[in-house]
């Protein structure tokens, strides 16, 4: 909301600069988001009165004058002749910048000597002020000109001002008005708030009730409705001061009647609406009725913006006996609009239910200054005052007479709220002692009226405009605001040590991150919201949004991989060829119509395996499946996951062209594999993409990170290499199992060191080479002992795997 410095000063005294004001308001909870200063016209020029004029001792054509500038007399040397003591003239004070022709340097008034006599300013001609093309002598002002008044104000022109853009928090609707802000300043300074005096204007003997009936059908939605009728107005342009005020805070001037309703709304926060009384009349009725009711099904109204609006039964309307004439609290109807031909007005000043206005405004997608104020909670207590204020201004500016005894239908009148505050509560919450008298004073200045004050507590009657004050804590807040949060001393951190089961899990997630980072993978953060187009899985297992921003982001990621694939694409299009990323994050799935979430960790990698190097046969090698498999093994070893088996899946599944499920005990904990070329192509990924995704929650739950030291071997080991030809269908796992089943004693380690297909190996078979390391903890093994053990292994390999042992 916007207010101006000068406007605020009409209601409360303060002598802060606009920057100081902004600072104070901000610290009071009204954040000032912007200040626009307006340099007014005739800055530094005031209305002054010549007290004496004598001949200059050193110059015949000059005179030395004493001139009253409103604060005191000044000595001015002047060359003009057309004035006498008592005349009122414009006086430019030192520092004032006089208008000059374009291109000329600015002319600044200074204190200086003219022929050895000091002059403290310059009395001006119309030409000097740029008000006339040429001028003979000083511009003489009318006798009723106010000495000391800024000259711009005297002329009715814009003086300097500053417009403040305020952020009003939703709990404080009372601050959506100039008086509301002025009231805060009054509370802070202790200076009184000056409400504008309502001018008593001519009224017409007729009572309002003779001309209109007001009927509120739903008092919950409309607790109060004040109606005034003004006869014989002349709709026309608004005076300059009114236009200026509205334009400065961003409103358009329409006509004197509408402008007054807007002005009073800005001034005191109460939305007002003026109807053309004639257009409310219906044929055959002696007097029109104003009915506050909800819309009937299929009812329509054309609002003031010219749009036809379809209404529903939840929407509150203002109607006459035949038709809707306004959408209550939101916008008037075109059928009752005030125009140039309007002469009789019905002025509405009402209070509507905030929730209802908000719902209506939302449904109609129609937000107005009025709806904004109503939906935040208007002051039910101010309706009558605002109505009278506006009516009197309308009569002042547009003429006419107000009918006597306005209608004030007030079915929703409620008791004044009483709230109490235990002084001790403030101390408890702030950690600082505030004197009781000071707290009472703060609340009183905020217009909370004490009804009971004891040593330990105060009860106050809450003014109607403070819809936010409902309980003790709200009063605590008021005390803090006025006391100043900056005056509450900080206390060093102290107190309980917290506890929560997640705390150690958080560390374990970081452990995973650190292992993966050391393995050369960089951490990514992907979008949680992805496109259903990017997920080849079963749609019924996907959690989708009811109100997505776009189809690009319509589901919650069931996997981290689509996001990582997008990130790979981002890198490749930006010419980073070697990319290895991981992410830890939540994924979402649906089973039995219930959405579930858990944390996964996923890796995706593509492009060259190593950083660029200038020699070596392997330097151009790309990541392949055994790179990601190696990561998995290294990660599991460090994180403490043992006993995992990988089972190849038959055929392509989901994102993978080829993959294996990773099984730990009875849990499938993840998948490893290669991205299908269809998705790779869609993402411009030319090199093969290797991927891995694991359920992190399961890993954390199933890990065994316990370590215990095993004595280092004291005796040498003996190695036996075996090369053998086996059918392609024999997996490494099968070899490992067979070796294990051989129960060869002292077999410490089995390592695969070669796999070969081709020369001398029949089609459908492969040659594999293993090293077998034998070692005993208590002695050096003899050849005989090793040979005996090794025979067990060879026997098992031949017997179980149909292996042909190669001699070399």
């Amino acid at each position: 909301m916007k207010v101006t410095l000068n406007w605020l000063k009409e209601y409360v005294d303060f002598n802060w600069t606009v920057e100081e004001l902004a600072e104070r308001l901000t610290m009071l909870g009204v954040e000032v988001e912007g200040i626009v200063k307006q340099g007014g016209e005739f800055e530094g020029v005031v209305v002054a009165q010549v007290l004496t004029a004598e001949k200059h001792p050193n110059a015949d054509k000059l005179s030395v004058c004493s001139v009253m500038d409103g604060k005191g007399p000044r000595q001015i040397v002047c060359g003009a002749k057309n004035f006498k003591p008592g005349d009122k003239v414009p006086l430019a004070l030192p520092g004032c910048v006089m208008p000059t022709a374009p291109g000329e340097p600015p002319f600044v008034i200074k204190v200086g000597k003219i022929r050895n006599v000091e002059s403290h300013g310059m009395m001006c001609s119309g030409k000097e002020l740029g008000l006339a093309d040429d001028a003979d002598g000083l511009l003489l002002l009318p006798a009723d000109a106010v000495v000391g008044q800024p000259f711009a104000q005297h002329l009715g022109r814009a003086g300097s001002d500053a417009i403040l853009d305020l952020e009003i928090t939703p709990n404080r609707p009372d601050l959506n008005s100039v008086i509301g802000i002025a009231r805060e300043i009054a509370a802070l300074t202790g200076n009184p708030l000056r409400l504008p005096a309502i001018k008593q204007v001519e009224s017409q003997a007729q009572a309002t009730t003779e001309m209109v009936d007001v009927r509120i059908e739903n008092s919950t939605l409309c607790p109060r409705y004040v109606a005034r009728i003004i006869h014989g107005v002349k709709v026309g342009p608004s005076p300059e001061w009114l236009k200026q005020k509205l334009v400065k805070v961003g409103l358009r001037s329409i006509n004197n009647v509408v402008d007054v309703t807007n002005f009073v709304m800005l001034e005191v926060g109460q939305p007002l609406h003026a109807f053309d009384y004639r257009l409310l009349q219906t044929t055959g009725m002696e007097k029109p009725a104003v009915v506050v009711r909800t819309a009937t099904p299929q009812e329509k109204i054309t609002s003031l913006d010219g749009k036809e609006r379809a209404l529903d039964e939840s929407m509150l309307l203002i109607a006459n006996s035949e038709k809707a004439v306004a959408i209550a609290g939101v916008m008037g109807g075109q059928n009752s609009e005030v125009g140039d031909s309007t002469s009789n007005l019905l002025l509405e000043s009402a209070c509507f239910n905030p929730q209802s206005i908000r719902a209506t405004s939302k449904k109609l997608d129609l937000r107005t200054d009025a709806s904004y104020r109503y939906e935040r909670g208007a002051d039910v207590g101010i309706c009558e005052w605002a109505s009278e204020r506006a009516a009197s201004l309308i009569v002042e500016l547009a003429g006419g007479k107000i009918l006597q005894t306005p209608i004030d239908a007030y079915p929703g009148k409620t008791e004044v709220k009483e709230v109490s505050l235990r002084f001790q509560k403030v101390t408890e919450l702030l950690g600082v002692e505030i004197p009781k008298e000071q707290m009472v004073s703060f609340l009183t200045r905020l217009e909370c009226v004490p009804s009971l004050v004891t040593d330990s507590m105060i009860s106050v009657r809450v003014p109607s405009f403070r819809v936010d004050i409902k309980s003790e804590i709200d009063l605590v807040e008021e005390v803090v605001r006025l006391f100043g949060i900056e005056n509450v001393p900080s206390t060093a951190p102290r107190g309980a040590i917290g506890s929560n089961v997640f705390d150690t899990i958080f560390d374990q997630h970081n452990e995973v991150r650190n292992i993966l980072v050391s393995l050369g993978i960089t951490e990514a953060q992907g979008q949680t919201l992805i496109s259903s187009q990017d997920w080849p899985g079963e749609p019924e297992k996907v959690v989708s949004l009811k109100n997505p921003l776009s189809s690009d982001m319509n589901i919650l990621r069931p996997s981290l991989l689509p996001g990582l694939i997008t990130s790979l694409r981002n890198n490749l299009t930006r010419k980073t060829a070697s990319v290895a990323l991981f992410e830890i994050g939540k994924v979402f799935n649906k089973s039995n119509q219930q959405s579930t979430e858990n944390r996964n960790v996923a890796i995706a990698m593509t492009g060259p395996r190593s950083q660029i190097f200038w020699q070596g046969a392997d330097r151009d090698a790309n990541f392949d499946i055994y790179d990601v498999k190696g990561l998995l093994e290294e990660f599991f070893e460090h994180f403490g996951i043992r006993g995992v088996t990988l089972t190849r899946r038959e055929g392509p599944t989901g994102l993978y062209v080829e993959s294996a499920s990773i099984v730990l005990g009875k849990f499938e904990i993840g998948t490893i594999g290669q991205l299908t070329p269809v998705i790779a192509r869609k993402n411009d990924l030319r090199d093969a993409v290797m991927m891995l995704e694991l359920n992190l929650d399961l890993l954390v739950a199933r890990r065994n990170a316990a370590r215990s030291f095993k004595a280092l071997p004291q005796f040498p080991s003996i190695r036996r290499d075996v090369a053998m030809v086996v059918p392609e269908s024999i997996t490494h796992e099968m070899v490992s199992q067979a070796v294990k089943q051989s129960k060869a004693p002292n077999l410490e380690l089995v390592e695969l060191f070669d796999v070969f297909r081709g020369k001398n190996v029949p089609e459908g078979q492969k040659s594999v080479a293993y090293a077998f390391i034998y070692r005993a903890m208590e002695k050096t093994l003899t050849d005989t002992e090793v040979n005996a053990a090794h025979e067990l292994v060879l026997g098992k390999l031949k017997g179980q795997l149909n292996a042909t042992i190669r001699d070399n």
Binding site: T26, M27, G29, T169, P170, Q355, R358, K362, E428, L429, L430, G431, I473, V476, E477, R481, I485, S490, T491, A492, P493, G495, A496, G498, N500, D503, I505, F506, N510, R513, S518, L519, G520, T522, E523, Q525, G526, Q527, T528, V543, S544, L545, K546, N547, P548, L549, L556, L564, S567, N570, N571, A580, L581, G585, K586, F588, S595, S610, Q611, F613
Partner: protein, 334 residues
Amino acid sequence: MSFLNEVEPLKNAAMEEFSKAADLAALEQAKSSYLGANGKFTALLRQMGSLSKEEKPAAGKLINVAKGEMEAVLSKRRTELEMSASLPKEPTDFTLPGRRRTIGRLHPLTQVTNDIVRSFRKIGFVVADGPEIEDEYHCFDALNTPHDHPARDLQDTFYLEENQKKLLRTHTSSVQIRVMAKQQPPVRIIVPGRVYRRDNADATHNPTFHQIEGLYVDKNVTVGDLKGTVEFVFKELLGSEVKLRFRPHYFSYTEPSFEIDFTSPMVKKMGKEWLEIAGCGMVHPKVLQEVGYNPDQWTGWAFGFGIERIAMIRYDITDIRLFYENDMRFLKQF
């Protein structure tokens, strides 16, 4: 005695030959031609037996000295030849780039989160977590949010299609409720995590972003404690030269509520006086009541702020979308 006269010339010839050997093979060959089983020097030694008992000691000494000299030259030459053999043909260019191993990087948001967590843990906080799919009760109702509050709108909050009561949490404050409902006070937690708002992505918005929430409920917890803790954490995070300012604000779940601004030489360089950084306040009595805590017995404060915002300030990043594109050139900078 004649053969002893041959020792000196033979030694000199051998030493000459050793020193001139062009490579290790030539050296070994030279060695065996003098000192090998059939070597010339070895042949001389065999004649020792023809000497008389008196002659033997002097002759032995003479031969041993000669042999020692030869072996010294041999060993020296061997070392020389080994050295030159192990050198590359061309001298190594030590300015050539090395064969590098890659180390990954932690995402900047993770780094900032960890720094924040570390600061809080120093003063007794622990990390808590909660679901990202929430319900209206934990995200709004229990936090004293009015039923028609705009934050609940389809316009501002993501709802799930299948179950319209379920939504993506709009703030980590929902975890406050979950933790307090389960646990008796005192409570002292921080909650980092993802939150969701229905904003189109631009330089300062992303529908997904991260927040961190702090909550402390205990006996005699005051606004002063809140200020002290927040000041401690932000000084740890942004440097000891930062200044903080609290100013009154409004949140439904705290009262009194404040926004926290900070300033530092960097903020001034940006041409600003203050930069808004967090919201906070004393836990609203209604929230305490909702989780079954007696507000006359327990008080507390909560605060929350955006992790992206801290990271953007700390690293001078001007576009939030960079965090989610995972461009390696970006990630490698942290």
